[in-house]
């Protein structure tokens, strides 16, 4: 049952990403897997979620019958508000993002390269859907974490020497979190900081096109 394996992979990624949250952080979570990070906020940590359609303090999904068409997140999903939430226009929302007020943006990727360049919005030859707010977020969030499966469904590497798809942002990614590894983008290149239990650095390198530097303090991923 590959879908169940995928679900477990994704949960591991999401749980590891949640450990990057810090108390008092304002965080923007991308559509899909990143949104799930909200379910795993560590105890004792208070984070405030921003949604780029104009909301701070995004709460959980509503109970049945309490959904409000006027209250959605950037993925167009019905959500709820919390005590201390605030609404604002799209111009104010992106002023907030562009102005560097978001501590952390977590989003998905099709490709990331050695310089932290990200491609996640367009596959030439397919009809384009649009970049939405991704270009603004990666350009200006104080820290950008990519969460993604380490390889494509056919096993091809997604962490590349150079991105081949049209890019979303040039040298924007700080950290890559996959089911196999946690990788930091450094001026010297990609540094392997953590590997999944049971894997060796070489296993990760085999699934990665870009050359990986191995951290002097290499850890096993603990979630």
């Amino acid at each position: 049952m590959p879908s169940e394996i995928d679900a477990k992979k994704r949960e591991r990624i999401v749980r590891r990403a949640a450990l990057e949250l810090r108390d008092g952080f304002y965080v923007n979570l991308g559509i899909g897997m990143p949104t799930l990070v909200a379910n795993h906020v560590p105890p004792g940590i208070e984070v405030i979620l921003q949604s780029e359609n104009g909301m701070l303090g995004v709460g959980p999904y509503p109970f049945p019958g309490e959904e409000n068409p006027d209250l959605i997140n950037a993925g167009k999903e019905t959500v709820t508000e919390l005590p201390g939430s605030a609404y604002f226009s799209s111009a104010e929302s992106f002023a907030m993002i562009r102005g560097g007020h978001i501590n952390l943006s977590i989003l998905g990727a099709m490709e990331v390269d050695e310089e932290g360049t990200l491609a996640n919005w367009m596959v030439p030859g397919k009809v384009i859907k649009g970049m939405g707010g991704a270009m603004d977020l990666v350009a200006s969030a104080r820290r950008v974490i990519v969460t993604m499966e380490h390889t494509t469904r056919t096993g091809a590497p997604k962490i590349l020497h150079r991105c081949t798809l049209p890019i979303t942002g040039l040298r924007v990614v700080d950290t890559i979190i996959t089911e196999m590894a946690v990788i930091t983008v450094t001026p010297a290149g990609l540094r392997l900081d953590e590997v999944a239990p049971g894997l060796t650095p070489d296993d990760v390198q085999q699934a990665t096109e870009a050359r990986l530097l191995i951290s002097d303090n290499l850890q096993t991923i603990t979630i």
Binding site: G54, Y61, D70, K76, S89, A91, T117, A134, D136, L170
Partner: protein, 234 residues
Amino acid sequence: MNKVYASAAEAVAGIPDGATVMVGGFGLCGIPENLIDALIATGVKNLRTISNNLGIDGFGMGKMLEAGMIAAHTGSYVGENRLLESMVIARTLEVTLIPQGTLAERIRAAGAGIPAFFTPAGVGTVVAEGKEVREFDGRSYVLERALPADYALIKAWRGDRLGNLVYRKTARNFNPMMAAAAKVTIAEVEELVEPGKIDPDHVITPGIYVQRIVQGAKYERRIERRTLRERQSA
């Protein structure tokens, strides 16, 4: 000074073929449902639309797409429209996609008398191609132009006779900037009230930006993705 129109049909009268028309909303949230229907009924053609999304197949701006009245569209995300693909391939629709924050700020700039500004979004991507890129304090930015319109169709929760508007929750989105960016702004509201009923400290769109206002006849307020959590048993 009376900006109130009796019906959505009267409120949208006179929009000519080829006009540039902004439409408020994010997804299906905060869209001017009644004005969209009324605009389609006028039979106007070759519109150049500006809106973050293009509705979905069968609802919101998706209906305008189906009516064949849009010649060109500028937005940030059009992923919910299957019809779009065939139109782009058949070259009956020209689509320009730009970053959402750049879209919001370009519209804001048009209303605010700023002809151009620098932004970091899109530097090094196709978005910056053909545009001036300049460094400030060691970082690169792309020069973006204001994005004005002939008409804006917007939706607010409540409005008064002078055009003062308030919005509800995330239905605010692009509506306030569009109100300021168009030569003629047409606002539909769920509740039309007398001046003084809205606390002046709560007004989001001051009436100066609104030329026509109409109370919508009915609202479907369709939900695009109904996501729910389970009630925990006691």
